[in-house]
Amino acid sequence: MMRQGVRALHSCLLQRLQVVRVQSDLDGALAMMPWRGGRRRRMFSAEVYAPGTYLDRRDVVERVLNVVKANPKVDPAKVSESANFGKDLELDFLDTVELVMAFEEEFALEIPNAEADKLSSCAAAIDYIASHPRAK
């Protein structure tokens, strides 16, 4: 977790930097700061990623599986990390869309339809959310 002082410094820096790709861990991010000799790099993405907001994978697994189990159409006994929504949980396309909407609510995310169409299993959802920098 980020210490309070560093957090303040970090948000101050974010206001100055335009497009910066930072490492997912804090040390890597600090190493890039100009006074440490780091160079500002322009990356493809126009978004700024804040380090340290990737969720712990174990948390993601637990929360994703809970969302799936909470769905009234799902048999909780069949839910596992490897469960496929269609083949194992007998969900159809509309059911899966609703499940994605439940993930969005749980993790405070917006998942575009093009990405949502690829989430056909618990594992795919876990991977997507665990590697999403803005998941909460």
Partner: protein
């Protein structure tokens, strides 16, 4: 059982092909196949290919899904074989998929005296309680069925905003009764799915939000061949494929508890050779001719009772 099957097969060898503008729809209600018919299910299993059998065996923890898959493959195979004048057995058909997953059939016999394999287009859809296979000659076809009483776990309008076009979502938001809103959503949904399936290019080439179905309740039209003669016109905005294809849509209730939509390509009359047409008073076909059967494959067929047409489109050219 065996004697019953043999008699049926003999008398149903010659099923005439669907003519131009005609769609044949074969409906299988799992409730018609009762628990005692495990012998029948064993016979169905014998119709399947090795890979289909493996696919079924792989969901052994899920008997309901196994039955669904068995019935789906049985329906497709027996349906197509009906149109082969007894020359081809259901088990000898092979299936491939195009790059977008749309299935295609490969006939095992390319030629026998004067007989050639028919140019059939087909599409399959199913829910737990009803499976439907639509067949046409040469015209691309898509079909989708949903249960009327389908349960939603989220707010319906949120789902509508996400999956329907903005105009469709606006239209849906006018319905204040939640039941009615749900029914209208399901009807729209089957129309959209049938269209995407008919196009056969996958959802990425026909994004659901980019085309709109509109119902026009002010001018009902007449549809032949279905029990309810009065239907409400529907129209499709901006066909999403770039070809000159024209498409026609029919929305119906195949039973009191289901909605289904059929989408089919309208072909120029030159597509069909003179000799194969059964015109007889049929001048220009701007109405779909749909025939629906209720079938227990290899056992019995009867006309589907109680199907109700809800809406029909005018032929659309893009």
């Amino acid at each position: 059982m065996r004697r019953r099957l043999a008699m049926w097969t003999a008398s149903h060898l010659m099923r005439p092909l669907p003519g131009p503008g005609e769609v044949h729809v074969w409906c299988l209600f799992p409730e018609d196949i009762t628990g005692e018919d495990t012998a029948l299910c064993k016979i169905y299993k014998e119709l399947l290919s090795p890979s289909e059998k493996t696919d079924i065996a792989q969901c052994s923890s899920n008997p309901k899904m196994q039955t669904q898959k068995l019935l789906a493959r049985t329906l497709v195979r027996t349906t197509l074989a009906r149109y082969a004048s007894g020359i081809v057995a259901p088990s000898s058909l092979r299936f491939t998929k195009n790059e977008f997953g749309k299935p295609n059939v490969i006939w095992p016999v390319k030629r026998l005296d004067d007989w050639r394999p028919p140019s059939l287009c087909f599409n399959l859809t199913h829910t737990q309680s009803l499976l439907m296979c639509a067949v046409t000659q040469k015209a691309e076809v898509g079909i989708d069925v949903e249960e009327r009483e389908r349960k939603f776990t989220r707010d319906l309008m949120a789902l509508a905003r996400r999956q329907l076009s903005p105009e469709e979502a606006d239209w849906l938001s006018q319905f204040t009764d939640p039941n009615e809103q749900r029914c209208q959503f399901m009807q729209l949904w089957t129309l959209k799915e049938a269209y995407v399936k008919a196009l056969g290019k996958g959802i990425s080439k026909a994004p659901l939000k980019e085309f709109t179905f509109t119902f026009d309740a002010s001018s009902p039209t007449v549809l032949r061949n279905l029990k309810q003669a009065v239907t409400i016109p529907i129209s499709l905005s901006r066909a999403v494929d770039n070809s000159d294809d024209a498409w026609q849509f029919l929305l119906l209730q195949p039973s009191a508890s289901h909605y289904a939509s059929i989408c089919t390509q309208i072909l120029p009359s030159s597509t069909f050779e003179q000799g194969s047409l059964q015109l007889e008073g049929w001048s220009n076909h701007n109405n779909l001719q749909v025939q629906l059967w209720r079938t227990v494959p290899l056992v019995r067929d009867e006309e589907l009772e109680g199907a109700v047409a809800l809406a029909l489109s005018d032929p659309l050219s893009s």
